[in-house]
Symmetry: C4
Subunit: 369 residues, 4 copies
């Protein structure tokens, strides 16, 4: 496997960071990036309505705390698809990771492991999956696109299994790249080596793999493609990008173990609903037959609380973790995860919930307007 | 026919344009225009509530994509009133066209033909209809106002038929000009030769025709006027400006083939609803007896998707095309049409719809707030 | 009558004004006034929520036009309490009128007469009612406060009758002055002679009358006070300030002929609803037993259209007329009235309504959001 | 009692203040404070959604005035838990009071007494309760946290009883400090002596008491803890921080006399509803078995009117009073209370309500949007 021979520059020792709020991380990130990389990280598709709505959706819910509940040390521990988690949080996959920091998702994986958080590792990254897997112990999920032929796909699954990943996450909302105007205005496309780290092998095969990853051409994948491949996958399978009851039903029928209610952080089809707004529809269609995760718009501990109260098992944080990566590499990601978990703990304490099992529908009500 | 003797300055060869987003076109246009012409192009009537609402209405709907649909090359082709279309888009008529570019709608017609788009040619323009018709092959629609006597009107219809137009579009929401405060504040009125290109003939007749076009005096036209004239029109007839069930019923009764749900881009009676908000009412009243087009607020491929999902057969783009005309003449219009179609294709791909027949009500839901 | 001996400086000949929009009038007014007078004119009470809501309420309704209605010359003529009106508009009473222009409401009355508009003349003004009445022919309404003893009140009524007024308007929402923070912050109170023009007679009586007009002390008036006085009033009676069904019922029981749905332009109790939002409740309670006028937030011809479509017989314009007065005296008021009527006519033409009888509930629908 | 030996610097004689609106007080306060103290006073928790919503909630209601009600001198007098009140207003407890002014809550208590307002004295303040109690006659309430052991708590209750307090207010929404980002960003924590004034006694005991007050660790208190302690409290008991029916029920079951619908001014768990939005739920659960107060967002007399119309017996003002304290010490607080009561009186007059018994549900309706 060619990836074995790629050199990973040893990441600098994590400098101590002293971020006290995510806002500080978000303010630091653009100062560390080129305008192009910032546009790529911060931007969404189209008019960025979905991007904005992802955040707004959390404001449509209010928390109903329980006072004098005797909570002293709330526990945020849980498990997801058999993986233990210090908090109900995974990091979402982000491609072209070295646009944000030379360590790319190696830093993310190390920071996540340090916090007991499970990372979902991106296929379209600079670092090959084997390199990333070797960065830290602890459970990890490998993300793959629903692109190309069955054999190519299963070859990547096999590499992930061998590298020790605990689950596969198939991204289904990316048959082509979204209409991302901020980078279009800058005539920016990530350079090839930012996202072709897994296109390894003899020259021709690598080129083919890279071609497979290029946007702009659609994908022949259907739910049948996935159903056919499912038995050949020895790990639990999540599909990321489910927004409707129809797709939730299809996912169950295809044999997946978990769905991620996701709109790709507002980066794919603009105008789709906020993920939190679609969670009830997906949960109802899933009827307990799949685990349900959610990403999009998670910026605070109280956002996690609301997503869980509305039925999500866990959340994924994509942009927020990448902001930490951009701001300060591994310590930046670690700071983001620390702050999210601390605010979650603080919020559970104030809401009178001792552990995640006590977070249910009674914790939320719709906002008054 | 006097128009034959009018000299059309040969338009400059389309310079290559490199607009990547409609936003860039909108930013370029005002730099190419006098403040008066910009006020005329960009402005609406009254407090511009309808103008704003036309855009806002699209935000009231969210898209429900279908993933893993196996779409690789979506088709945007369709037909309207028997005319083939590369995409479900027509350009809307805009009067006083040479305010925006010396080529006026000649440029629009050429750009539309290049993209397989049907243009609706304005009566109140600088260039006579025969000149415009000769600019490019491909189907074209001639727009006429519901003004003046039956004979004058039918004479124009006859000219359009002879010039090879494929349909007639009668504008019904313009018995007088809207209360347009931006140009009122500038004491601006388009100069006569900007909109009297079709007032041809002997001096007296031309003056009479020009007088007929002047705003500020109302129109004696009723639905009966149109119904009486209908049998004498050998082409399909659209009426533009239908916003209510009552008018949709009247249009059907008058024998028209298509209605355009339109509020004249917010330029006539301010305070009328957004066109997208009135589409259901018109569709219900039409009960399949007329084709239904919509204009107002179309700025993106996802807007087209929403309009079609809610039942429109095609959309018209007025201001957007005119922005392209102002920004760069024919290549500017062509860029606008190219971007709209590209974003539409990309959006169909991401929404999992292979062709326009798959765009139905299941693609949309109301926004959460 | 002492007012006879007061000298009215002959107003300057109306300079020709060329306002083309009300916006220009609103921009001119503050340039002609001291900051204190501007705060008094433009400001409302409290947080100015009601002031803003009065305007916002019109945006909650959309117009449903009728096309091809054959309207050429719409008629805005009507009558109210037996008074003929060129348009369904009265000017509302504004106290301390010489703060805005030396001619005060003399200018307003003249401008109104010139336009066929009925003015409601303020009691708390610089110019005595007899002087004002002599300024112009045509019907006029005298406004009086629900303050002080029955005899004092009826003495003013008698003066009004003798001076030729056609109706009495009793303001009921002003038992004390509103909590007007803009003028409180400026420590501003209109000087006495701005509002005591009707406190005429021997020194003691004038002082008593002035004392009666002072704010800050409440009023002993009840609906019974009005009912008792009603038979002694030989003119039609309007009450201004009705916002609820309860007060509408009480007004009918007290024998009044018309109610004005009014919140004093947001200048009295802040936090009360927009007048347009209360119109249905008042109409339902009135059940056709009283004429119904509305003021508050009228800035355009389309506002008039909406108020009438929702059931008002006429509207009053207060601040808008006073802006004209401040901007340019009589010609300023005349310009405001001209623009309102012109935009109303234009809007009727575009809405396909030939006269006021055709303006009914079918003309409006709620906004989509 | 060690507090006896603490020296209270004699407060400066109240300078005459001339605030005419609360806005002026709010503008003055930040000019008198360090940025850190201002962040502490003005800020809330998290994204400050609850802070903003507390204010917004009052805008969701409109007042329905009654005209010609014959009100001349409205009375705002009432009583609460047996304490007479010149107006239905108490000052809310605020910790770390000397951050805002050296006199801290001594000034607040004196100003309140001067206005016939009952102050709720904070436990976590610089000045010991005995000192504060001695500042002024008139009824006062002592606030205590639901922290630490039963005996420590009851010892404080006993001190309060001995010092002459009339009631106890137990804060239940503060098991730990809220996630207050404005002060986190400034790395600010109030210095110890700002809030440990009641940690008196031998060195070890004082340290223990201070430790008890530190945030960040949760509280073992349950409703049973309170129920157990209740019989040992010889005074009426309020609990502050009730937002839900569940907690209202629990409060009744624990034997409390009054609940305060409160979210700690948006300073504890961000994302909880506005207090005014939760008032109906709490009232319904309480079914008349407890008195109900409300705090959060009271900035005007009309806010008091709305809270009472919706069922609150009294309101507490926290931030507004502290703004007065910061702006000008005792006279500042007195000015705030004066303005609130004056605007309340004015509003009752304009709403036609002669006393608080006439303020009922008929006074309010929901806003139109």
């Amino acid at each position: 496997m060619a990836s074995q021979s790629m050199t990973v520059s040893p990441p600098p020792a994590p400098a101590p960071t002293q971020f006290t709020t995510l806002g500080e991380v978000y303010e630091t990130a653009p100062r560390m990036l080129s305008p192009e990389a910032w546009a790529y990280l911060d931007g969404g598709a189209g008019a960025e309505e979905t991007l904005a709505d992802n955040l707004r959706a959390f404001q449509r819910w209010r928390l109903r705390p329980r006072c004098l509940a005797g909570v002293v040390t709330p526990s945020t521990a849980t498990q997801f698809l058999g993986m233990p988690l210090a908090a109900p949080i995974l990091t979402a996959p982000i491609g072209s990771d070295i646009l944000f920091h030379p360590d790319g998702q190696c830093a993310t994986v190390r920071a996540a492991a340090r916090r007991g958080i499970v990372p979902v590792v991106s296929e379209a990254s600079h670092w090959p999956l084997e390199t990333v897997a070797a960065c830290a112990d602890g459970p990890k999920v490998m993300q793959l696109h629903a692109w190309g032929g069955r054999d190519e796909f299963l070859a990547l699954v096999e590499r992930a299994e061998r590298a020790g990943f605990s689950a596969i996450c198939v991204t289904i909302d990316c048959p082509t790249l979204g209409w991302r105007e901020r980078i279009m205005r800058r005539r920016f496309t990530p350079r090839d080596d930012a996202w072709t780290g897994n296109c390894v092998g003899p020259p021709g095969a690598a080129a083919a793999a890279a071609a497979r990853l290029s946007g702009g051409r659609g994908s022949e994948w259907t739910w049948e493609t996935l159903a056919d491949a499912r038995p050949a996958i020895g790990l639990p399978v999540m599909v990321k990008g489910v927004l409707t009851a129809e797709d939730a039903e299809a996912a169950v029928a295809a044999g997946v173990d978990a769905v991620v209610v996701s709109n790709h952080g507002g980066r794919q089809l603009d105008g789709v609903p906020a993920t939190l707004d679609q969670l009830p529809e997906v949960l109802e269609a899933g009827r307990g037959r799949v685990a349900v995760a959610l990403d999009g718009g998670i910026r605070r501990g109280t956002d996690v609380l609301k997503a869980l109260a509305l039925g999500a098992d866990v959340v994924l944080v994509g942009r927020a973790a990448a902001m930490g990566l951009a701001a300060a590499g591994e310590p930046g990601v670690a700071a983001v995860l620390r702050l999210l978990v601390e605010e979650l703990e603080r919020s559970m304490l104030l809401a009178g919930r001792a552990d995640l099992r006590e977070i249910d529908r009674s914790l939320v009500r719709r906002s008054a307007d």
